[in-house]
């Protein structure tokens, strides 16, 4: 298991990863509450970026509606807690199942009927928008007025019901991010991983080689949707409120894919670096604006847009591939595609 995990990774890369992990583990000892919430945000986007990357980076299916799975997962767990007092860990399987089912329906319709490329991306947006309007009228979970969970009690950590202070949430999302990283690393070297990459590079050729492209594309969507739903459960219990207008909005889907695109689509380190850069820079920008006493709504998003524009224009592969070459980690297993 361990052997399979590390084979092919240069020692330098392993040391770097170990140092990074230690730094993350120790962070709550030195970080204040504000820093911790920023780190939680970074890890949250690393995790969701990793989940999205399975679909787009590994299997080449562009989803612009991943907010759908965050929302479904979050709403499923939050509604069960709100109405029946069922804790998040018990409702997690159901939340994942609901999102995975939505992904399966979308995938089945799209792949069975040959909806690909532009049309597929638009279909994913349409599903998310459909859910947004649908949940606006779904009164059992609060409709457009939103669903609120009883506010967290900061004095006592209760891991079982995910009620507690930011440190607890930090370690939960850190564990999720590490698990997702390891899972994706193993997946890339698995049979499914190779099939996905074959489909991404040339679907016709993959089919000619005898790969059941329909089945593997379905695996990618269902897995990606299920993993994203876990993030949705975290989101619901961390923020304690859900509004269809916010949770399912297309800007959420875009926000979620910025990290992996800026970091490097199809790489394992990309989503993490991307999340770091985009969240870190956005927060610094906010601090600077705060210090200067300017309050301009929309400036942060313009900044996001400019970052995205700069990266797609000048670094079409994202930041990680050139960075890993510069660091001499070129043959790093964390890069899915060959060099």
């Amino acid at each position: 298991m361990i052997g399979r995990l590390v084979e092919g990774t240069p020692r330098r890369g392993l040391v770097l990863l170990a140092v990074l992990l230690m730094a993350f583990l120790a962070a709550p000892l030195v970080a204040n509450d504000y820093m911790l919430t920023v780190l939680i945000l970074i890890l949250y986007f690393s995790y969701t970026g990793q989940a999205w990357n399975i679909m787009m980076g590994f299997a080449g299916q562009l989803s612009l509606g991943h907010a759908l799975y965050v929302g479904l997962g979050g709403y499923a767990a939050a509604a069960l807690y709100f109405h029946f007092g069922i804790g998040p860990w018990l409702s997690l399987p159901l939340a994942v199942a609901v999102a995975a089912a939505a992904g399966a329906i979308l995938g089945f319709l799209a792949f069975r009927f040959g909806v690909a490329g532009v049309y597929f991306a638009i279909l994913t947006i349409a599903f998310a928008e459909f859910a947004r309007v649908g949940f606006d009228h779904f009164t059992w979970v609060g409709g457009s007025a939103g669903l609120f969970l009883p506010v967290a009690n900061y004095t006592r950590n209760d891991l079982w019901t995910l009620r507690g202070n930011p440190t607890m949430f930090y370690y939960v999302i850190l564990a999720m991010t590490v698990a997702a990283f390891v899972l994706c690393h193993l997946l890339l070297r698995s049979r499914a991983g190779y099939c996905w990459q074959a489909i991404r590079e040339d679907e016709e050729a993959a089919r000619a080689l005898g790969i059941n492209t329909f089945r593997y594309k379905m695996y990618a969507v269902v897995l990606s949707a299920g993993m994203t739903a876990f993030a949705g459960v975290f989101f619901a219990f961390y923020y304690n409120n859900l509004f269809p207008e916010q949770v399912f909005s297309i800007s959420r889907s875009i926000e979620l894919i910025l990290g992996p695109i800026i970091g490097g689509v199809g790489t394992l380190v990309g989503p993490i670096i991307g999340a770091f850069l985009i969240t870190g820079l956005a927060e610094s920008l906010r601090e600077v604006m705060h210090a200067l006493g300017v309050d301009v709504p929309g400036l942060k998003q313009v900044f996001y847009g400019l970052c995205l524009l700069a990266v797609v224009m000048f670094l079409p592969d994202g930041i990680w591939p050139p960075l890993s070459r510069a660091l001499g980690l070129d043959r790093d297993s964390s890069r899915g595609q060959g060099t």
Binding site: M56, L62, L64, L109, A110, F113, G114, V115, G117, V118, Y119, A121, I122, L123, I125, A126, E129, F130, V133, G134, D136, H137, S144, I250, S251, I254, I261, V265, V296, P297, G298, L299, Q301, V302, Y304, G305, L306, L308, L309, V312, M313, P316
Partner: protein
């Protein structure tokens, strides 16, 4: 409910649908020729709407009269976008092009938010509350003018592509990229012209829509999506298809608002999109691709 109400709502939906169709026509022209999906389409329309609203507020200029200059401004914007940003991306993978235009869309939406703030603005013309009585029908004057203008612009565009030399050259680029290069057409310039023409359509549609709906910076993405739904329903790349799709979606939205609740109307538009994608992916009037 008396039958006249259905008829009135249907006519109103049909007229709005024509304006939607004109907006979608812009998207369809761009996709049909440049093969790039303009993810900033609704955002460009929002810019046109803000120009119309600002001109009206400052100088009392009627948006329907200002339609032509506004379309010209959007033409310039579209031309510049294609020539400066998108042309280098023509050979890049699809998702790369998407991300480029999504970045442009994000910048446009939030740029408008910074300049104009989040409040809704509207245009109140002298004929805002006028209507025509045609037998049992009551037709809203604003929508009637807007619908007629949409048809006029669409006819002008059809004529341009059918009879004008540049229009024919653009069609040649769409039919056969390599062939167009071989006969010596300046494809990049024609692409920029096409994007400009598509943007001009959406500019004209924006000027008209400013009479019908309130504008806020945030409506852009919703109209981008609406344009996609219309164009895919009618057939991506088909010009009559875009108009037909617009009318169909306009009608659906109006009737869904009447029978159910207005806030749920977009669900029906998306329902149509899903059905079309599954059973006639090339769209109602689209040609199946080889």
């Amino acid at each position: 409910m008396p039958a006249e109400i259905y008829l009135n709502v249907a006519v109103s939906g049909l007229l709005t649908g024509l304006v939607y169709g004109l907006m979608a026509l812009g998207l369809s022209v761009i996709f049909g020729v440049v093969r790039v999906v303009n993810f900033a389409h609704g955002e460009m329309m929002t810019i046109a709407m803000y120009i119309a609203v600002t001109l009206f507020a400052a100088l009392k200029l009627d948006p329907l009269v200002m339609m032509v200059p506004i379309a010209a401004v959007l033409f310039a914007l579209g031309y510049a976008m294609q020539a400066g940003l998108i042309n280098p991306f023509i050979t890049r993978p699809e998702h790369s092009q998407f991300m480029l235009l999504i970045a442009v869309a994000i910048i446009l939406v939030n740029g408008l938010l910074i300049i104009f703030g989040p409040d809704a603005r509207s245009v109140q013309t002298s004929y805002s509350f006028d209507s025509f009585l045609i037998g049992p029908l009551i037709v809203d004057a604003t929508k009637a003018y807007a619908g007629a203008a949409a048809i006029a612009v669409a006819i002008a565009l059809f004529a341009f592509f059918r009879f004008n030399r540049i229009g024919k050259a653009i069609r040649a680029c769409a039919d056969n990229y390599m062939g167009a290069l071989v006969v010596g057409l300046d494809v990049k310039r024609l692409y920029a012209l096409t994007f400009g023409i598509g943007a001009a359509c959406v500019g004209a549609a924006g000027a008209m829509l400013s009479l019908v709906i309130d504008v806020t910076p945030a409506i852009g993405p919703a109209y981008t999506l609406l344009a996609f739904v219309i164009v895919i329903t009618g057939g991506l790349g088909s010009m009559p298809g875009a108009l037909l799709g617009g009318v169909l979606i306009g009608l659906t939205e109006a009737l869904a608002g009447l029978f159910f609740t207005p806030s749920a109307k977009t669900m029906f538009a998306f329902g149509i999109l899903v059905l079309v994608l599954l059973f006639r992916p090339q769209g109602i009037l689209g040609r199946r691709q080889a």
